[in-house]
């Protein structure tokens, strides 16, 4: 009788209920309902899958046995960053993103989705306040996707195809951008020009000025740079772009913007970046999310590929939320729309809205000061380790490039030893001798001293 049990996820799989439904249709079985599919298309036997674990007690045991074989970096001491970081997620954020009303549905009416739409609007409002920009779209997949879309926006705005960007960029991000820049149509291809950077990732301004020409659609920089340096040339880069009639695009991490000047005050036309740092766990890479923001001008608004959630009113005069410029999305205009959109990372907009409200202006200032101070402490502490060279200790936010070449050890060997002998996850390999280590509010000074001591032992 075991086989005839109704499946827990399917209320109508109980035999009597199913039979009653079939009766309503005058059928003995479901097979006639598939009459549209020619017999030659049909599988003759069930596909080969592992046996079902319909009992939750068995399934949970299986899943947890798998999970026991993981060793999450976040559960120990980790300095992994480079595009997705371990920042503290307030417990309230986890509670809100776990609410079934936000977690499980997809779309309702403007009235029945009202609460969710308000959260989304508070996401764009608060992010806009951090960025100093008044037009913010709903999230995209990631920072890389945001940059790719922004480059295409700039190309449409200027009718040009050259994009100047830092050579010191996350390879993961660049690999995504490359897909957006390339085109099957040679006339539509964006030319990605990688400009040289210093060891902290800051752009070589003279090189950028020489590369910027009348076909330059955009100059893109990151602040902080991939290798941790705050971009001291931000104002000059915007000036260079303005001189050649190009757009200035900046990639920023909003978690820095309590202490760092916002793109809106640095002459940036289009800001992009991550929302993962705003209250989203790493989730093995599934915590990524990106944003696109600009000045609130029709010329920019007309190029957004994202959905745009605007404040509006109801017929009774209440505040409400609706999608603006929907017609220019791919949903509205198919291949004539601006790039494409679809399911994105909207749950992370809920996380980020909650996170920004939790921090407020004072929280963002404190976390910014703390990350700067931790990074500085790490630079000073690690510079004291024989065989480790640190590029710079001031003007660095969260990441440091550690050079092990003087020690004769490779990053692979160092990271291997850190993990095996000290239980520490080292940094991302940039070259065989250099690795990017991330320092956040999750690290104490004692954690950093522990890393230094471990490196001393490993490099001795």
């Amino acid at each position: 009788m075991v086989q005839s049990r109704a499946h827990p996820f399917m209320p109508n799989s109980a035999a009597a209920g199913k039979a009653a439904l079939l009766d309503e249709l005058g059928l003995a079985g479901t097979e006639p309902l598939f009459a549209q599919i020619p017999a030659a298309h049909r599988l003759s036997a069930l596909p080969d899958l592992p046996p079902a674990l319909t009992s939750e007690v068995e399934l949970a045991r299986h899943l947890n046995a798998l999970l026991d074989r993981n060793r999450p970096a976040g559960g120990g001491l980790s300095f992994l960053g480079g595009g997705i970081w371990q920042h503290h997620v307030p417990a309230v954020v986890d509670e809100i993103v776990g609410r079934a009303e936000f977690l499980t549905p997809v779309w309702g009416t403007p009235s029945s989705d009202f609460g969710r739409n308000q959260v989304w609007w508070e996401f764009t409002s608060q992010l806009g306040a951090l960025l100093g920009m008044e037009l913010v779209g709903l999230p995209v997949y990631s920072w890389g996707a945001a940059a790719g879309h922004a480059f295409r926006m700039a190309a449409r705005l200027t009718g040009r195809t050259r994009i100047i960007l830092p050579a010191a960029i996350s390879p993961e991000r660049l690999a995504v951008i490359t897909g957006y820049a390339y085109s099957a149509d040679p006339a539509m291809r964006l030319e990605l020009v990688l400009a040289p950077c210093d060891p902290t990732g800051r752009l070589d301004l003279a090189a950028v000025a020489a590369l910027a020409d009348a076909n330059t659609a955009a100059i893109y920089y990151e602040n902080p740079a991939y290798l941790g340096g705050l971009e001291t040339g931000a104002a000059e880069l915007a000036a260079i772009a303005a001189r050649v009639g190009a757009e200035t695009i900046a990639g920023v991490d909003p978690i820095s913007l309590g202490v760092i000047a916002p793109p809106g005050e640095l002459g940036v036309d289009i800001a992009v970046g991550t929302i993962q740092t705003l209250g989203v766990h790493c989730h093995a890479g599934g915590g990524l999310g990106g944003f696109i923001a600009t000045r609130d001008e029709a010329r920019y608004a007309a190029e957004y590929p994202t959905l745009l959630n605007s404040l509006t009113t109801t017929v009774d005069g209440e505040l409400a939320f609706g999608l603006m410029l929907f017609h220019q999305s791919s949903y509205g205009s198919r291949e004539l729309g601006k790039d494409w959109t679809g399911n994105s990372t909207y749950l992370w907009a809920v996380a980020a809205a909650t996170y920004m409200a939790m921090l407020g202006p004072a929280g963002f200032a404190e976390i910014g000061h703390l990350i700067l101070a931790r990074t500085r402490f790490a630079a000073q502490t690690l510079a004291g380790v024989n065989g480790v060279q640190v590029a710079e200790s001031r003007g660095m936010f969260r990441e440091l490039l550690l050079d092990f070449s003087a020690s004769g050890r490779s990053v692979t060997a160092v990271n291997r030893a850190l993990l095996d002998r000290h239980g520490i996850f080292g940094g991302i390999e940039i070259t065989p001798e250099k690795a990017l280590f991330a320092f956040t509010e999750c690290h104490t000074e004692a954690d950093i001293v522990r890393l230094a001591d471990a490196l001393r032992e490993v490099l001795s």
Partner: protein, 504 residues
């Protein structure tokens, strides 16, 4: 029939910028001195205009907003999205992945990689494909993956310049033509024939040496299956092009057909739709993209490889570009693995049967309602897991539109039905998808509410036109938010444009 005396929670909750008070704090961080650490000219000189709130205020604000969201607590049959139960056991277990960094060494995430590989194997069985990647962060991103692989595949064969066109149909999801166009292809959209799908002659006329790929769904969003699909794929491949199966509507045909058996080179499953993963209001999502060994070298990597019980990552040799950083939304892949293990092959077959049975049960009742018709009446075979209906007659009779009906149904705890992707094939379309998660009582209630609203439309159309009445707020005004003077995506823009919304 007795309809529920539903009323949405209505908190009149202010905007976040309108609450709190100066000096309140929701989070403390250890205090630190960063004097002199920010280069000149890069310091923030005025604090961001963020609200100042204590921790309980933030919690309560967002809890109230969650209550002002119907979510899946009402009955949602949002067609094309396959509303599905998200097993909480998977949600709960996946929380243990929160601290995993994607750049961790593979040996420190063997359990996760085992699940990713396990799902890959199960999807191979369900599709006949040779390999899956989970990098695409949604169905549209999987279509983008296909477009990117199409470019790379033809370029590698020296035909990149020649193969400039991608063919799709009027009933394909907009992401197919949109991603094809973004990738630089010219899009050819085939119109539908009288049976609800384009004719073979239309396809033949479009095919040529310049064809790069076909991107097609089947069954389409009207529940119509193209019985000539194998001939389609044969013609496409004879022309030297690739055939991509957008399996958005897999729910009705799970275990019944396999993309590879029909001849396709690649296919896509949406884990956040068909495979039980929570939708999050629109992601994080996963478009699982599977293809043949011939296309596998072009897949975005890294992919998970099994070696004697251990798992490692490997980047395909001819990867053209990535579609997403790292390996994708792996916590969602893990949930899909959990769901698929809970179902097994018999469970998937049953879910497919259920979704088609329930749709046909719904259809029988819905077509008895005044003012409801179905697309392509000449196509008499039972629809699969969805049916495209029209309220055109209702509009003509009463002036009540599908959107009016949608708004009024929300007054009874029924969330929006899907209308139709662009373009509309029938006037005033609506597309419920029953799926397998709702009980017969839920489905009957949904139909009872629609019957009530239609009856009301004939009796008292103003009551429907002015709906909703029991919702959080009334329906949207006709305020033109496509006008730059009116739109506002941020508090700052709203304040500047309208000088409104100050606290108190």
């Amino acid at each position: 029939m007795t309809l529920r005396r539903y009323h949405a929670a209505r908190w009149d909750e202010p905007l976040i910028h309108q609450i709190g008070a100066p000096g309140r704090r929701g989070q403390h961080f250890p205090l630190a001195d960063s004097t002199g650490l920010v280069p000149a000219g890069l310091q923030r000189t005025s604090p961001p205009d963020l609200p100042e709130l204590s921790e309980p205020e933030v919690l309560n604000h967002y809890l109230r907003l969650s209550q002002e969201t119907m979510g899946m607590i009402g009955v949602s049959l949002f067609g094309t999205c396959t509303m599905k139960y998200n097993p909480r056991v998977g949600e709960q277990a996946a929380r243990r992945l929160a601290g995993v960094h994607p750049a961790q060494p593979a040996e420190t995430m063997q359990g996760l990689l085992a699940a990713v590989h396990g799902l890959d194997l199960m999807l191979r069985s369900l599709s006949g494909m040779d390999r899956f990647t989970f990098q695409a962060a949604g169905g549209a991103d999987a279509a983008w993956t296909q477009a990117v692989i199409t470019r790379a595949f033809h370029a590698a064969r020296g035909q990149g310049q020649q193969r400039t066109k991608i063919i799709t149909s009027l009933q394909s999801h907009p992401c197919n033509p949109a991603t094809a166009a973004t990738a630089g292809f010219e899009v050819i959209t085939l119109p539908l024939g009288e049976n609800g799908y384009p004719s073979l002659d239309m396809l033949k006329a479009a095919l040529g040496p310049d064809t790069a790929a076909l991107m097609i769904n089947n069954p389409d969003d009207m529940g119509v299956y193209n019985p000539e699909i194998m001939e389609w794929v044969r013609l496409v491949k004879d022309a030297g092009a690739l055939a991509f199966y957008d399996h958005a509507n897999f729910n009705g045909v799970m275990t019944k057909i396999r993309a590879r058996d029909l001849g396709f080179d690649a296919c896509m499953f949406m884990l956040h739709k068909t495979f039980g993963v929570s939708k999050g209001g629109g992601g994080p999502a996963v478009g699982a993209y599977g293809c043949t060994a011939e296309l596998a070298p072009f897949m975005p990597g890294p992919l998970v490889v099994e070696d004697g019980g251990a798992y490692r990552l490997e980047t395909p040799p001819q990867q053209a570009a990535k579609v997403r950083e790292y390996l994708g939304n792996l916590q969602q892949v893990f949930k899909a693995y959990a769901w698929t293990r809970a179902m097994g092959a018999e469970g998937l077959a049953e879910a497919s049967d259920q979704s088609v049975l329930l749709n046909n049960y719904m259809e029988k009742r819905l077509l008895t309602l005044r003012g409801v018709t179905r697309s392509h009446p000449e196509q008499t075979s039972p629809r699969l897991e969805m049916t495209r209906y029209s309220l055109g007659t209702l509009l003509e009779d009463t002036g009540i539109s599908a959107v009016d009906v949608q708004n009024r149904m929300a007054d009874f705890g029924i969330d929006a039905f899907w209308l139709s992707h662009e373009p509309w094939i029938v006037p005033q379309p609506f597309t419920p998808e029953a799926g397998e998660m709702w009980s017969r009582e839920d489905i009957d209630y949904w139909i009872d509410v629609l019957a009530h609203v239609i009856d009301e439309a004939y009796r008292d159309p103003e009551r429907v036109r002015s709906a909703p009445h029991n919702q959080v707020v009334a329906k949207l005004s006709d305020r033109d938010i496509n006008d730059p003077a009116n739109w506002a995506t941020t508090w700052a823009a709203w304040q500047r444009k309208l000088g409104q919304g100050k606290k108190g």
